[in-house]
């Protein structure tokens, strides 16, 4: 039976998405990280820094949730780097590359698994934060928007992460590269403290980088801080990053002479 090329791209991608989704529940270490990390972050930041940081009229718990959610999503996306690098190291990418399938399919699988993983850990995080005093004012529509922004952000970061995985090649290299990339981006942002108190150069960076826009947009939707044009800028950044990264990742995947 002859099917169109598009049909096969979609089915190959679907098969590989199912593969990566299975990993979520069979790779127990990653599953543990998924559950424990949000709880740890929430409790530590809430109780260790909570008393010391001035977030104006918003309580620190209310301020914090959007920040932790996005930091978690950024780190979560790095599982894509890890999984891509692990595939490379184990020769699975070689095997898949010797098949007549679309070059983006393998990574799309990992990226979609990331989206699912991040939604799961976000739900856990929000549940925990409700227990420790989070009081959102968001309506249903707001929550849908929040979810949309979170997914867009994860999508952008996961594709970026796929590139990192392909370039780093080994799980060990991914670990330090993602550390070097994600820590500055998430800490030099409005995730945990307002940018007002930062030194000039840092403040300008923090206020204009995508992570801050995404956090501010989510925060505004959750607890009513000023929105300005954060939502629009978030969308532009995330879509922009995705549009640039997908072809680069596909190219690297095909091109890569792995060992």
């Amino acid at each position: 039976m002859e099917r169109s090329a598009v049909f096969w791209i979609v089915r190959d991608t679907y098969v590989l998405i199912v593969r990566s989704l299975r990993h979520i529940f069979k790779n127990l270490d990653q599953l543990m990280a998924l559950v424990i990390q949000p709880i740890m972050f929430m409790l530590l930041f809430r109780y260790v820094f909570g008393g010391a940081i001035n977030t104006g009229s918003t309580t620190y718990v209310n301020y914090l949730v959007a920040g932790i959610l996005i930091q978690m999503a950024a780190f979560g996306a790095m599982t894509t780097s890890l999984n891509v690098a692990a595939d490379l190291q184990r020769g699975i990418i070689d095997r898949l590359k010797s098949l007549p399938i679309a070059s983006s399919a393998v990574m799309t699988g990992h990226v979609v698994a990331d989206l699912v993983r991040n939604v799961l850990s976000s739900i856990i995080l929000i549940a925990i934060s409700l227990l420790v005093g989070f009081s959102p004012t968001a309506s249903i529509q707001d929550w849908l928007l929040i979810t949309a922004i979170l997914l867009l952000f994860t999508l952008a970061f996961s594709w970026l992460a796929a590139i990192i995985g392909l370039l780093a090649r080994t799980v060990e290299a991914v670990q330090w590269i993602s550390f070097v990339l994600v820590f500055p981006l998430t800490f030099a942002s409005s995730a945990f403290v307002p940018t007002k108190g930062m030194p000039e150069v840092l403040r300008i960076f923090a206020e204009n980088q995508p992570v801050t826009h995404v956090i501010e947009a989510m925060r505004s939707l959750m607890v009513g801080t000023p929105m300005n044009d954060h939502a629009l800028l978030s969308a532009i950044w995330c879509i922009g990053i995705t549009v640039i990264c997908v072809p680069i990742a596909s190219y690297l995947f095909r091109k890569h002479s792995t060992k």
Partner: protein
């Protein structure tokens, strides 16, 4: 030999960071036959296979697989081949069954066909019992068998096997040999690499020996072995005096003296020849403590062809890795 041979390589070149890894490899595999690529560590076996299976572009030369150019028509090549890499590439977090079913679907079999094929292959490769365990829990041999099964999901007409039996116990090794013979019987064309002459001997119609990225010998296993010389009879004698007497009695047939009690004699491998020698010694009242018959090994081929031991040259390259 013809221009429709399913695997043809002409003058393949590849270098990594200015080191020439392949220096003009020529190969040709006829339909329905097995070619064994024989060579020591670092000879360029894996690199050759990676180029032929479209994973690596060559720097020079040309390769046609199933009539398609591996660079310009990679997609068509991929439709005609199955690949088992040197290191078992199974998805550790999927079960054996899931691995096989996934591969079936990626080869564009229907969902039902993929399931059926998976069951069949699990059976054939003695993995039925472990079918529903994740591959992370498999032993090395089981992984290897699953790996090989994965490359057979789609019954491709051309198969590349990179050291298919390295690290397997004798039973699994025989099972895989069996399987490979069956494939050839069904018309599959196979290019495999190995470091073992006996494996090449058993499976291959033709053997290409490579070293340092160059073809240094080519032929059937018998042709290669006759180059190296025949089998050797090793005699251990009780005293140096007996050694001296033996050398005197056998003269030209003595290949070399290994140490002060052991000598090696060239034989053709037949019982008659061995018996003749032992009889001769008995008639000369020479006592033989023990004897063993050695087949020519890859090391002998190498010693003969390159003047260096197959393994010795490699230690430094392995360090770089």
């Amino acid at each position: 030999m013809s221009d429709n041979d399913p695997i043809i390589a002409r003058g393949l070149k590849k270098s990594f960071k200015n080191v020439d890894v392949l220096d003009g490899i020529d190969l040709r595999v006829e339909r329905g036959t097995v070619l064994a690529l024989l060579g020591p560590n670092g000879a360029g076996k894996t690199t050759t296979i990676r180029i032929l299976s479209t994973l690596l572009p060559p720097d020079g030369g040309q390769a046609l697989v199933n009539g398609f150019d591996v660079v310009r028509e990679a997609k068509q090549v991929r439709r005609s081949i199955g690949l088992t890499g040197q290191y078992a590439a199974v998805d550790e977090y999927l079960t054996g069954r899931e691995n096989l079913e996934m591969m079936g679907k990626l080869y564009h079999l229907s969902s039902n066909d993929s399931k059926r094929r998976a069951i069949q292959l699990l059976e054939e490769f003695d993995l039925s019992e472990a079918a529903n365990r994740i591959a992370k829990t498999y032993s090395g041999g089981m992984r290897r068998r699953l790996d090989l099964a994965l490359s057979l999901v789609a019954t491709p007409p051309i198969l590349f096997l990179d050291e298919p039996t390295t690290g397997l116990d004798p039973r699994s090794r025989l099972a895989i040999w069996d399987r490979i013979e069956k494939l050839v019987y069904d018309g599959t064309t196979i290019l495999l690499t190995t470091q073992y002459l006996d494996e090449a001997d058993k499976l291959a119609d033709r053997i290409v020996v490579i070293d340092h990225g160059r073809v240094i010998a080519e032929g059937t296993s018998n042709e290669l072995k006759s180059n190296v010389g025949n089998e050797r009879l090793e005699l251990v004698l009780p005293t140096e005096e007996e050694v001296r007497k033996t050398i005197e009695a056998l003269r030209t047939e003595v290949l070399r003296q290994e140490d002060n009690r052991t000598i090696t004699v060239a034989v053709d491998g037949s019982i008659t020849h061995v018996k003749k020698i032992l009889d001769l010694l008995q008639n000369s009242a020479i006592e033989v403590e023990s004897f063993t018959l050695h087949k020519p090994t890859l090391d002998d081929v190498f010693l003969q062809l390159t003047g260096h031991e197959a393994t010795a040259a490699e230690t430094e390259e392995d360090k770089i890795k």
